[in-house]
């Protein structure tokens, strides 16, 4: 027990530095992917057909293909089409794509939950389509989508562990590295699991609380 604790204490700084990378890649993927998801949510409702189809393809591929495949596609595949990305760059590109695809569906549902009367009121007041979206529909739709988006952010932090496969020095990679050096796999992987849980459990409880509060508000 004592041996484990001192091993954990020794390894903690390395794992923490890995966790910072996990959080960075997650934050970047969300910062890029969620706005793109909003754009995609609006474009799949576009009346311009080619635009709608292209968006639909981007969304369906992003949701249909495993994130692990997208990560390797960006890391190993893109250099041969002339785009060389670092493992951080590939991770952000692939996870942004996944984020865009999934959040576009979440946001679309949020936008659809805005009552029709809201866009009718905006229309009769003479607001342009873009203004109606910007000032009336999107702010309300995003509010509806917020709990689900926060839930997705937690899943994204978990998905960042897949970046292990493209040699990004995030939390799991660090743990695995220490494991191969010391052969104390069980202890180091448990510590990594604890660190993930230490973020994800409070975050999950927080999202549930927010959901309850919004639910009460609506009722």
């Amino acid at each position: 027990m004592n041996a484990t604790l001192s091993f954990w204490a020794e390894s903690l700084p390395s794992l923490i530095s890995g966790m910072v990378v996990s959080l960075e890649v997650t934050a970047a993927a969300l910062a890029i992917g969620v706005p793109l998801g909003l754009v995609a949510a609006l474009l799949v409702q576009s009346t311009v057909r080619p635009l709608r189809w292209v968006t639909l393809a981007v969304v369906e591929i992003g949701r249909g293909a495993p994130a692990l495949i997208l990560l390797q596609l960006a890391y190993y595949g893109l250099p041969y089409s002339g785009l060389q990305l670092s493992s951080m760059g590939s991770a952000i590109a692939a996870l942004s794509w996944t984020t865009c695809a999934y959040t576009s569906e979440i946001i679309r549902a949020g936008l659809q939950a805005v009552p029709r009367g809201q866009s009718e009121a905006a229309m009769t007041l003479g607001l342009s389509r873009l203004d109606a979206l910007r000032f009336v529909i999107v702010p309300q739709g995003m509010r509806v989508a917020a709990p689900a988006l926060l839930g997705f952010a937690i899943l994204m932090l978990q998905a960042s562990s897949l970046c292990f496969a493209i040699a990004l020095p995030e939390l799991l990679s660090k743990a695995q590295l220490i494991g191969t050096m010391t052969f104390r796999y069980m202890e180091i992987l448990l510590l990594a699991a604890l660190l993930y849980a230490a973020i994800c459990i409070p975050a999950t409880l927080l999202v549930a609380a927010i959901e309850r509060r919004l639910g009460k508000h609506a009722a």
């Binding site: 229309m123 009769t124 003479g126």
Partner: protein, 255 residues
């Protein structure tokens, strides 16, 4: 204001038709009104009253006939040019049964935002106008509240102020009191009456027979997508000619 003056038509509708699928909601509707007139549209549920109003400001596109409103002509089947559509939305203010205030904005923002975005007023100009209008509908104290904190009657008065802020030439009311308790509806009707007396052109789709009779100049009674009777309020309400109209008025007046 003199209502019977020069015959400048602010609304003219000829042969208006509208179907939802196989169901014909409006069928050969003709009517016109002069600027400054107040017209009440009454009739049983499903008679096409609301659809008529929604066609007038093109929330629904009509399938047949011609609509002219505030000098903008719209022929069925032809797309309305963007400029005309903008003019239409600016000239015709709309008040909905369900108020449709923007819940994420304060009352003041609700009224000021369209002025800034549509008329290009500065924030200060818009807010000044908004506060004056809130004063006019008796809600000066509500400016910084959110709509959810206001009663239904207050929300509807705010919605009226919001529509008035764009200085419309005509106001369209779609059952403005139907979602309200009768005594709450009265405070909304009072605002509308004041508006009518100030000379605003108004079309009011309503179940309020008292309002139709006392405030409006003219009543249009609709049933099954057609205009059944039309004329000065007292005449239509007191001496309906058709049996269908008599039946409807008998039912609602003796309720």
């Amino acid at each position: 204001m003199e209502r019977t003056g020069e015959a400048r038509l602010i609304v003219e509708v000829k042969g208006l038709g509208k179907s939802f699928g196989a169901h014909k909601v409006l069928d050969g509707v003709d009517f016109s009104m002069r600027a400054g007139e107040v017209v009440a549209v009454i009739g049983p549920s499903g008679s096409g009253k609301s659809t008529l109003l929604r066609c007038l400001n093109q929330l629904e596109q009509h399938d047949e006939g011609l609509i002219q409103i505030c000098g903008i002509g719209m022929q069925a089947g032809l797309p309305v040019p963007r400029k005309d559509m903008n003019d239409l939305r600016r000239s015709a203010g709309m008040v909905f049964q369900s108020f449709n205030l923007f819940p994420h904005m304060t009352v003041l923002r609700n009224i000021s935002l369209p002025q800034e975005r549509v008329l290009g007023r500065s924030r200060a100009q818009a807010d000044e106008r908004s506060r004056a209008l809130l004063e006019r509908v008796g809600l000066a104290g509500k400016a910084d509240q959110y709509p959810a904190r206001c009663s239904g009657g207050q929300q509807q008065r705010i919605a009226i102020a919001r529509a008035l802020a764009l200085d419309p030439r005509i106001m369209l009311f779609d059952e403005p009191t139907s979602a309200l308790d009768p005594e709450i509806g009265l405070e909304v009707l009072a605002v509308m009456q004041e508006l009518a007396e100030a000379g605003m052109s108004m079309i009011v789709v309503t179940h309020e027979m008292h309002f139709a009779e006392t405030v409006s100049d003219r009543v249009i009674l609709m049933a099954e997508g057609r205009i059944l009777e039309e004329g000065p309020s007292a005449e239509v309400m007191r001496r309906p000619k058709t049996a269908r109209a008599q039946q409807f008025l008998h039912a609602v007046l003796n309720r």
